[in-house]
Symmetry: D2
């Protein structure tokens, strides 16, 4: 099955959300490409778009096949303060790659900016806005479909980003990387959301730093804050693909396992189906992922919400709902796993009896 | 750094092993491409080589960059009994993809066959040998560098495979998917290894079904059996990238988490460095991985054995030894993780306090 | 060492607390005697005081030796609504046993009442007060040193109990079995404490239902509420000897392990030393335990606070601080455990790899 | 219900076992009395029999009520080499206490000796036999019903003990504290059992050092060894009340949690019912416990084997089969736990998410 309206110009992000449609985001580029050998952990910059465009294109393709409706430009941290002179070439190449793949399916291109590394040393509005504006000029030239400002720890800087991005007259989404305790200056999630809505953001939410469950708790607080202020922007969530019930205010970077020992925390596809359903029930319509979220996790969102959307993504040709393809297995006890109840109730073992279940943030 | 001798014809697999060099294998295609959206779990066949060659090529590239010296044709289960008429096209295309990527680095092409699905119903030597011979004809035409017969539960069928593959006068490697308890007819690992060596296999070992630690236990038993029989073929190990201390004779397929809930069992890169060192110390020189082993796991083998080999793989440009790139991080407590002792001693938490550490095989 | 003032009449509970002394409570009778074979789980009544007085006397003795300054009469649930005609005999016998043992050391006798089983069906102040008054008459006749009203889920009923107990002109302590979420009608811990102080209770706190850590969180909230109201009664804490980070509002009775599978949750003596220190630092001076708290746990409180109190309890003749008696062991690696750092940092394994770390309340 | 034959002289241990009756042993004195405040860990000697006879008598009573048919004298380590001049008084007093309590029910008195502390330094048969003989003289004078030599790491010393104890013409039981790997000189369990049977022991088995499951594995090996040698003494098992799947050859003393952090490993009553059934099915008829085994664990053996024996122990008046007394609880979700399936399938959580499931022996 495929979404209606293959021909004609694509419908915009707000057109979709205003009609109550689910928009599926994409996910983890940095962590995924680090494991594939194209990104350096610790540095976390996206020079792969120019060094190894095939690897980046392939990952975009996998998200597209998994059902993503958004190809976010792989421009995380690609501003002048992190990448020196290379920044412009990287932004431009990232736009081209995203556009190329978006053209092969029902996906929009989103130009992405994130928090500066400067803010924490100099709360210099003019300089920081200039960094955003430089990236924005590339996005304007490449004519992206909408903009995302993501991964902000401080609502003040997020507001600055929104103010800049609004200059282009394209829809603006903004997500903070905060948990239920709020931003680094103590602004509550509800307070952050209200400030961002007042700054003009069309879509508001959280991304990264916390696992699915914690992120939805934060989003609920945002929603309550917005409602109390009489505001109702669209909501967006792009959590980690890791379980992090034990992290503190700073999120997963403070866990001792970050970034090279997070494997046991990776969510299963079934965990993600549950998350997608809960996000939907909470009223979120822009649902994606961040670090640790792999293509099959995006497919799990697409499959969980297929009844509402009316179609499955291309990658579901290679997957059957709730593991039902296992009924072709030769062993009867494996065929017995070809059902929803089995996977929904599985409590997967770690195979690591000498390791604990939880860690203490190492701050 | 790069291996010496970039020009001139590549040195063959036995030339390398005979000189005591480490040969790094490649790893998980089926499980990895399932997560990327190109393989169907339950079916586990490699039609992606014709349907989505870019995705397969990209994965080959990632293993090459990570240091693999072998591009194994993605022909698992691609014999006539599993793939009907498509089998020949798939085998041919897989050879071309492997050769194309192997040409970009210091890697050989290995044509791969695996156990038939027929054996367990009909121990019909003539029919089964014919299946192997058909695949072999493609490998001959495509002129692969050597051959691998892998994933055999029954030593008898593995012997048949070796006998057929030897017809081509290329080196033959053979691996069984058994654990310390031996094959499904009760032949011990040592007994299996001796039979395979007598059948003419040049390289003998295990692959799949069991995690690194268990696989090395099996290999030790094979080595002891071979030594007792006065035989000394080269040894090879390609274990799962999952921890499976709790599996029984049948291996990970019998664990309740197979195949859609294995995430918490995925090995870290540090687990794999430890495995690589232990394999090396055991005298194994062909060291790779199987299901669950991703490109960064192969890179971990390359990095662990870099002192012996004298060079690092290309993907190590994007990785620094023992996480040392973290010393660029802005947070001091994360910089403190930029050292070997930290990662070597980390006991990573699962983030899943409601889940157990071990499962009981579900047979 | 022994506390000063062996001769002369004993100093009263308030005399001690007013001077800032630590008073060590006693602990688990029901759960401990259930394991010894004298109490029936599910029924949880103290008929053992008449049926098996030796067993009850022995447990009192163990607490006394461990350092308890209070022999609480074993009269839990021994009111007319639970024990029919037997109630009076049980209350009287319990007083005699407590007095007999208290006479052998520096301990006071506390007459104890707990919530009625009637309240949840009939909030009938007169009838419930009558139940308390009947027990009080026995305590008056037996001339206990002070009174404890404990294990109240509803602050209203606790207030009634305090009002009745105050009629006797003896000091009154009162503890609720609530967690940080407050009582069953939603009154916060601070709110409960203020009501109880206003009703005239001299000592206020929590007992049972929650582990040491959670109980101290509740007590902190009580303290803050009292302080905000300008009140400063003495504080008291008698938590479970079980770890219960996973319980909900109802406490440990809702955990699936209650009451016959709680073993893996039992606190070590080191956990209890930590608890005693934290309680002390929070300003609590009446420190004891409840279900699951065994004599050696009480000894751990006595040992942790020995520097402040200036003496060790009799049972410390059979224990050396921080396991130092292990330095007599013949095995050097066991001698190496004879030190504080070892036990303070131990993360004890459960020996149960197929079990999870946490449960979900089963309500 | 009570066992038949209350009047008349008690039937002897061999009379019972020869008729296929189940004999229930007693259990943990040292560890249990350490927690009650009467034994010093590290020293592990039984001077409490003279210092605090009430405490020892009470524990005997609890085991009797729980169904023990044997009151073993609390004389562990009470030989001349450990207790100097006190040894004789302790042995005599222990006999009197055991006899006093045995007289209140259907229990026999067993005089107990254990391995010397001398053996590991001087394998001096004469001196060591003399130690045993001195204790034996007290047992002779006090006319115990039979003898137990227990806790031997070296079969040679156990044989010496049997040879001495046989001098008294009373039945002799002997247990070693070994696991499946055998004794400290490498004699297999089967080999040990054969030597002990040939030395004249009437009852042979294992005690202490390993949990129920491991102890039964050892016993199976003993049984196989005996059978192969054509011998068939009675079998006896008295394991730890702790789960120790992770201990090595030396048993639980080598685990990092020994002796002050073993709490999370304590078996539930349901674990013990399972153990009792498995022991029975293995053909063992003398079934008891050792360190960590508390009175309610002995009761669990009595309850599990009540169908075979035809009666329940006195302490079952305070316990209903499989938790059925919970059906009187006021909360419906707790009443729902009043059934066998619930407790049999419970996987109890540790409440310790920061702790691992298993430890590595610390040797």
């Amino acid at each position: 099955m495929a979404p209606a309206g293959g021909s004609g110009p694509k419908r915009g992000i707000l057109q979709r959300l205003d009609q109550g449609e689910v928009v599926i985001g994409d996910s983890s580029f940095l962590i995924t490409l680090e494991k594939r050998g194209y990104v350096k952990a610790g540095l976390w910059t996206p020079e792969a778009v120019v060094e190894h465009p095939d690897a980046v294109r392939q990952l975009h393709m996998e998200f597209l096949r998994a059902g993503s409706n958004v190809m976010q430009t792989f421009t995380f941290s690609a501003s002048e303060d992190n990448m020196d002179s290379k920044w412009e070439e990287v932004n431009a190449a990232a736009c081209d790659l995203a556009r190329e793949v978006a053209g092969k399916g029902d996906a929009l291109v989103a130009g992405g900016v994130c928090q500066s590394s400067m803010y924490k040393y100099h709360r210099d509005e003019a300089r920081i806005k200039k960094l955003f504006r430089l990236q924005l000029e590339v996005f304007a030239r490449k004519n992206v479909d909408f903009l995302i400002a993501e991964y902000f720890e401080h609502v003040e800087e997020a507001v600055w980003a929104v103010e800049v991005l609004k200059e282009l007259s394209k829809p603006v989404a903004v997500t903070m990387c905060i948990g239920p305790e709020g931003d680094m200056h103590g602004v509550t999630p509800g307070g952050c959301a209200v400030q961002l809505a007042k700054a003009g953001a069309d879509i508001i939410g959280v991304n990264c730093r916390f696992g699915p469950r914690t992120s939805l708790q934060t989003l609920l607080l945002m929603k309550q804050g917005l409602r109390a202020a009489g505001l109702s922007p669209h909501l967006m969530v792009q959590p980690l693909g890791f379980h992090t019930p034990d992290c503190g205010k700073g999120g997963f970077v403070d866990l001792p396992e970050y970034p090279f020992g997070l494997e046991p925390r990776v969510a299963t596809r079934w965990d993600i189906q549950k998350y997608a359903r809960e996000a939907y029930n909470l009223g979120v319509r822009y649902i994606g992922g961040c670090c640790g979220f792999e293509p099959y996790h995006i497919r799990a969102i697409s499959e969980e919400l297929a009844p509402e959307r009316g179609f499955l993504p291309p990658a579901s040709e290679k997957h059957e709902s709730w593991g039902s393809a296992l009924n072709m297995h030769t062993k009867p006890w494996i065929r017995a796993r070809a059902r929803r109840e089995y996977w929904e109730n599985l409590l997967p073992a770690s195979g690591r009896p000498f390791c604990p279940s939880l860690s203490r943030p190492d701050v």
